[in-house]
Assembly symmetry: C2
Homo-oligomer: 196 residues x 2
DNA sequence: ATACTATACGGAGGCGCCCTCCGTTTTTCA
DNA sequence: TGAAAAACGGAGGGCGCCTCCGTATAGTAT
């Protein structure tokens, strides 16, 4: 259940008007794009412009700058968790696992472009970080267990282990894009069942 | 050798003029004070005012806001390391150790008031953090070894161990002042040589 | 002691950014 | 279809970073 899917106003419980809902979605996408292009310091004006709305509209949906950051982050986490669930219906469990881990690396890379701002959001809302970590860990576990049950992945690691390995790798300050990709390939090879 | 003690202009190598030197020191102290009072988001104007100088003077010494943050941090680290060296001449090795650890806790508390800004400084200047950690670790070790040689401290831990214990404790987001003090007392008791 | 120069000071003001306010527009519903 | 409710847009207030340049002062040569 994501923030928008509720589609209800803060206090009334009434559904959002269609234009408001459309603009909300546009704004979150615009913000993600602008943060990726210009970094976490991008201006509110730039985000509104990218979304094709006025700043007033932006501030109607997100009263403070930090609220935009939080919304983008929540949406990223939702997408990542959602991707795991899609993967559960995919034909090949191993491909699903590989695909999800690639998605995780992309997610982590995007996060790094506005890490400072995110840090503030975590400070303001202490539950946000652990709750997200928990959801992501569980998603990872679902995909991994399915691959393990199909005999496609070694079964002496669990989702927590895997996140413990991949997450810090992605966060390292000096990780290049190529390096991340190569390390992921190595991790994937290590994840296959040992041939003996 | 601290930044000011060189007392020389960036390129000329000539010594700083007396008023410039005086204002530099005032500005660093003022910035530390203002960050402590108002948090890391304090304005440049507030810092200049606290130092009793114009903003122009502030910017002459520190071209960018981040340079002020870095200067305060460097000064804090210098003071902390300097305190260790003073402790080496103190009468009682245990008191020196205890005093230094208290100074470390105070240093860490001060750091937390402008952690976000400091994080940026570390990003901009990747050597700063490891170099400082190294200096502080070495200082800790000097004080600790002296206490150990005097038989005042248990000798199955080293300076690195101690920092590894105290540093994360201080950084924890929800540490209260009292809690920090109580935990330090406990650590100090644990540091005494085991009675057997 | 004095005059001269290099250096430093101060603060008004430019610019950009966050956010508010309110007149205008759009959606919703009877 | 018409009126009320909801949302939109963007000008502008206020603040914060930083620049610029006229003024003041420390250092130096005579």
């Amino acid at each position: 259940m994501t923030a928008v899917e509720e589609s209800s106003s803060e206090h009334t419980g009434r559904p959002m008007r269609a234009d408001a809902r459309r603009n909300y979605l546009r704004l979150v996408d615009a913000a993600r794009q602008v943060f990726a292009d210009q970094g976490g310091g991008a201006s509110m004006e730039a985000i509104a412009k990218q979304a094709g709305v006025g700043v007033g509209t932006l501030y109607r949906h997100f009263p403070k700058r930090i609220d935009v950051v939080e919304a983008v982050y929540r949406d990223d986490v939702d997408a990542l968790v959602g991707r795991a669930d899609e993967g559960m219906e995919a034909a090949d469990p191993w491909d699903a696992l590989e695909g999800w881990l690639r998605a995780y690396v992309a997610y982590a890379r995007a996060k790094r472009t506005f890490l400072n701002e995110l840090h503030e959001a975590f400070e303001k809302n202490p539950d946000l970080k652990p709750a997200s970590r928990e959801r992501i860990g569980a998603a990872c576990n679902r995909v991994l267990v399915r691959a393990q049950e199909a005999g496609a992945a070694r079964d002496d690691v669990d989702g927590e282990d895997l996140m413990q390995l991949v997450s810090p790798m992605c966060m390292a300050a000096n990780l290049t894009e190529d390096q991340g990709d190569r390390l992921l390939l190595m991790i994937l090879d290590g994840l296959r069942p040992p041939t003996r």
